[in-house]
Symmetry: C2
Subunit: 700 residues, 2 copies
């Protein structure tokens, strides 16, 4: 039987399950007309934003499409590459769009369900999160299997004499461009959405909460709707595109290494089959996410955990059979261990992330205590917490790389070892369906809370949505652990793919990738700097966009008569529109960086320099992303910890100091940090796609 | 004639000039008895601190000395290595101690001179700075030439048949251990002094300025003396030890590469001779630092600039003759260009640093404007400014490496190219005598201002010392540019020395330093994380120490009756003592990191892993150090810019927001940032010294 048929079946299964969940959510009552009105306002704002974003991004895709077409015409790429690029972008955007549509439909339904019970609220929010999770994996597998079958058909028809190796090589290099499309779209979605959501959030908080002293999500705040829209375009659509990219990227990069490792078709099939089996395991796991009425938050977390752990246990069993089926018997055990090492590393990084960012542990508690001496010490402590939290993930990734490399046979054959590293990344993401579901429901609960606040629902509803939101913060931390860990492993696999590709293009090329080679070393330096430049641009963008929202909210407060008394309505749409325009304008520079820098460095320093660049970007990017995500998460939860009554509680000086930390942390954890993950992989994919050009033309 | 005799002569010249300047400063009137009293209090506090620090560090040196002795006994090192290590540490400490003694003597004299005129104040402060500058270079050259002559004598006596290559190899590897001693001492001095100065500064500011609302350096503040002591032990003694280390490190690492490059004794002599000639050029340059009475601040800056530019121009001419004398004619021009590229790169990085940190340019002005929306935006903008400011230095270092590598013959012979890179670092630091003088006078002026404030001198005196202090900030930025640029280049030379050393130990060793080799790559990851961990530990240390000072200052304010009315004296000594104890305790962990991590990584990952570690630490360390130094400098000057009357001036909300930025920036620019420079080089030197052990024993 063809393993790829199972992959296609996995895609269908995932999409069918997503559709079922979608119908289940849609069947829930939407609440009062006022709730539905706000939900619709958020939905239309988010839709307007995404439409505008896709329009802007379409220009970028059109330009790159043309460049790729020219390169294909020049014989530097295969003819399908430009089209693969576009479909990758399209499906990534689609995954985000569906997730966003579901989330904006689910927010009022979650608020309504939460008015009945905490558990009912969880079920609705989790179902909506499942739509997102399974849409992402379903579309990913669908697209992969489509291209696989189409290209196999095409190549066997056009050149029936082609060796199976050559065939697979053509297929995987097209898939890689498809990955580049997905990464490009994800970068725009993450950066644009991230700018939108944080500009609205910071703007709303700074003027509303701090200056005017009104609560969060108060309907009098002109930026309240924009804030909720932001959650959907940034935390939902952005995250969907992001994880679609991670998922596809890890599979594609591993497939690319299969040929060099000597595994042929079977090796290409392993990562795809693992992903497809992961769908089934995730669905089984999600049936275990249930709890009795009146469950405490601890029970709820346990319920979510049970689901993911069952899925993980099942995929381990499945992986055993998958590798033994598709790979030579003498390699199967080693590759299996690589899968396990990836899975375990993902869970371990998630646990570490939770340790550093949850207020049930010392680091975040100490961070809240530092608010006693003012906001400066909160910032210093938070930055230092974030930096300290990079140690364990680096060690975990290092150990995981060593285990997967050597167990997969790296000592005997370099390429087999690297294939093992790639497979470990796939293992880490194989249960993405359910981990993403537990992750994606967080912003939905957040939005539901906003709606509860804006429609003046009873305080207990807000308490329940807050509980769900807070639970979401914990699961989001785990989710970020997976995203970031897999990014590092995938990037390593991509660097290997790059070298592989270069050798395919020019088998007699003399490379010196040694760190003592000056061009490699300078590449390493430039690469090490790139994530800093990227973070600077994205943070600056948030700052600039937030600044304009601050001015606008202040203007509305001072010019709209009766606004503070609740007698007049603010101009919500204007804030949404301003955020949209700022995000569109400001996302361009950082996103283009990922595409332009590797090409420019390649033209100057050649292949050795590019390899250095990729390694440098991966290393610094990984460390910086972990640091920013964890510092941001810890600041957020330190603030929440104080709000729960510690150190003087809400409104105290400590709370004010902690709010400063949280505000600094917002772009850290929701804009710059997660976007760096994508940056790491996109620079690698761009380098691979443009390898032909660089090998032909370079200065040094 | 022997070039090394010229080096010894340079050492004597530098020390004689320093002695002359010392006498000139000492001849100045010390001001009123009250001024002298405070100056003595600061001096005795600083002396007490340094004595305690040296005592603590002595234990570390004793332990490492014993380890090296054991290794020498086991034949892994030459017999003199342990002694070279100790002298490096001793002279580094001595340079810092003399600088500190001069500075504490000069502070009241500068305040007194400033009461006459701005220009007189500058002259006294600059003369005191010169003592420091020329002591550092004089002791450095003295020590280098002593070991050179002693070892040459010894080896020619013990083994007269030894080839000149072997002789030079033994000499340079001993010099390297001497460099490791200097770096170890510098790291302790920078970290310990940095913790002391910033804990006192933050503690004094947070309670005195922010909570009690009294001016900076107000005698009622119990931490006022500790703050001034901190300037001397951190910014003077710490910086002295730091630049001693940079200076010696660049010379030693280049010498080590001379043999591999095939230049023999002449090649070893080039960096030393350049440094010695630099002494003479610096002295000539310093005679041009004079200005007419009533000069504006612009004139003063121009006067300082004239001095450094003349010194730079002279060293270029001297370098031409030096390289043509000592090197084969066909290589001389190339090496000369390498020297020039280093000099130019140093000046360029200094200019960039100034652009990003001086309030006469847009970045810092925009940073002050961000205070309009509160402290959170000040932090975000400052971090983003710091990150953005890393781009140009990375490009400059990259271009400089390429030029010096290829011009020095790297295309034909790898080692000749690397020698060129080393020489460019020496070129950058050759005029250290005068650049350090313009740098070291800043803290003296700062202290003078403190004394003026505490003794209630007329407001114009404080204005003049503030003007000098502010001028010092600009020159300090340039100085930091040199320190950081040379650190990157020196570290690259040291990585090459490491590989060289490994080949010396085991000529048939099979290395794979390619970035696709998993052990190298994991080393790269760990190395990339190391500066983050180091920064976290040092920032945490400042935070913890400051916290205890905050508590103590609050306690004194609330328990000492009549303190706020100026009727009772605070307990200054207790704050000094607390800072001393905290600094001693907290400096240990970060400093040990630099020594332990490379050995542990080596024992596990072997030579390839260590090489990756060094490259990773250099890349991330360079970027992070630039980012922290520039963000810190910009925050400081943004605050000063507001104090000069912009955005509401002193006491406004904007000012309060900017003070938060400045407080966060303090450990950035004066503790963590500069210490990372040392970390980069010390890890390399430790790796080289322990190379014999690692080659013999390692896991992978």
């Amino acid at each position: 039987m063809d393993a790829m048929l199972l992959v296609a079946a996995g895609a269908v299964l995932a999409l069918a399950f997503a559709a079922t969940m979608f119908r289940r959510v849609k069947g829930q009552p939407a609440g009062t007309p006022q709730m539905e009105k706000i939900s619709n306002a958020v939905s239309s704002g988010a839709t307007a934003y995404l439409k505008r974003q896709y329009k802007g991004v379409a220009i970028f895709f059109a330009v790159v499409f043309c460049i790729l077409l020219v390169m294909a015409a020049a014989g530097l790429l295969s003819f399908f590459t430009p089209f693969a690029f576009v479909t990758g972008g399209f499906f990534s955007g689609l995954a985000g769009f569906i997730g966003m549509k579901t989330a904006t439909m689910a927010n009022c339904r979650t608020a309504n369900a939460a008015s009945e019970s905490l558990n009912r609220g969880l079920r609705v929010a989790f179902s909506a999160g499942s739509v997102m999770g399974f849409t992402v994996v379903g579309l990913g597998l669908l697209d992969l299997s489509f291209w696989y079958f189409f290209l196999r058909f095409w190549y066997t028809t056009v050149d029936p004499a082609a060796t199976s190796e050559l065939l697979i090589q053509s297929i995987t290099s097209n898939l890689l461009t498809f990955g580049m499309g997905a990464s490009s779209m994800a970068l725009f979605a993450r950066v644009g959405g991230g700018i939108f959501t944080k500009a609205a959030d910071v703007g709303a908080d700074l003027v509303g909460k701090v200056e005017a002293g009104i609560p969060e999500d108060d309907p009098r705040n002109p930026a309240a709707i924009a804030d909720n829209v932001g959650d959907n375009v940034g935390d939902v659509a952005g995250m969907g595109a992001d994880l679609y990219e991670s998922y596809v990227g890890s599979i594609v990069s591993t497939s690319t290494l299969a040929v060099a490792a000597g595994y042929g078709v079977g090796g290409v099939g392993v990562p795809m089959l693992l992903a497809a089996l992961g769908v089934a395991c995730s669905i089984v796991g999600s049936f275990f996410v249930k709890t009795k009425e009146g469950a405490s938050q601890k029970n709820l977390l346990a319920a979510l955990r049970t689901g993911t752990y069952i899925a993980s246990a099942l995929i381990m069993v499945c992986a055993w059979f998958a590798v033994h089926w598709l790979l030579p018997a003498e390699n199967a055990l080693g590759v299996f261990i690589a899968v396990i090492s990836g899975l375990v590393a993902g869970v371990a990084i998630g646990a570490i992330t939770e340790y550093y960012t949850s207020d049930t542990y010392k680091p975040t508690q100490r961070l809240s205590a530092s608010s006693e001496t003012g906001s400066a010490t909160v910032i210093i402590s938070g930055l230092s917490l974030g930096m300290l939290s990079t140690v364990a993930p680096v060690v975990i990734v290092g150990v995981s790389v060593l285990i997967s490399y050597f167990c997969a046979g790296g000592a005997a054959d370099f390429n087999m070892g690297l294939y093992g590293v790639g497979v470990s990344a796939v293992g880490m993401l194989s249960t993405l369906g359910i981990t993403l579901a537990t992750d994606a429901y967080g912003p939905i609960a957040d939005n539901a809370g906003g709606i509860a606040e804006m429609t003046h629902m009873p305080a207990e509803v807000r308490q329940r949505t807050d509980a769900l939101d807070s639970l979401g913060n914990t699961t989001a931390a785990t989710g970020k652990g997976f995203a970031i860990g897999s990014a590092a492993l995938t990037a390593l696999a991509l660097i290997a793919s790059y070298i592989d590709k270069v050798h395919q293009i020019k088998p007699d090329i003399a490379l010196d990738l040694s760190i003592t080679n000056p061009t490699t070393l300078i590449g390493l330096f430039v690469g090490g700097m790139l994530p800093f430049l990227f973070a600077a641009l994205t943070m600056d963008a948030v700052g600039k966009a937030a600044q304009s929202i601050v001015v606008e909210v202040r203007r509305q407060f001072s010019t709209i008569a009766g606004l503070m008394e609740g007698k007049a309505e603010p101009d919500y749409a204007r804030c949404v529109d301003m955020c949209t325009r700022s995000a569109q304008k400001l996302m361009l520079a950082p996103a283009l960086l990922a595409v332009i820098v590797p090409v420019v460095v390649g033209l100057i320093l050649g292949v050795n320099g590019v390899a250095g660049l990729l390694a440098g970007t991966t290393v610094t990017g990984f460390v910086l992303a972990v640091m920013m995500a964890n510092a941001g998460g810890a600041w957020d939860n330190a603030k929440k910890y104080i709000e729960s009554g510690q150190h003087g509680g809400k409104g105290s000086d400590c709370h004010k100091a902690a709010v400063v930390g949280d505000t600094v942390g917002d772009p850290f954890k929701d804009t710059s940090g997660p976007a760096i993950n994508i940056l790491i992989k996109l620079t690698s994919m761009v380098s691979i796609v443009f390898a032909g050009l660089i090998v032909a033309v370079h200065l040094l």
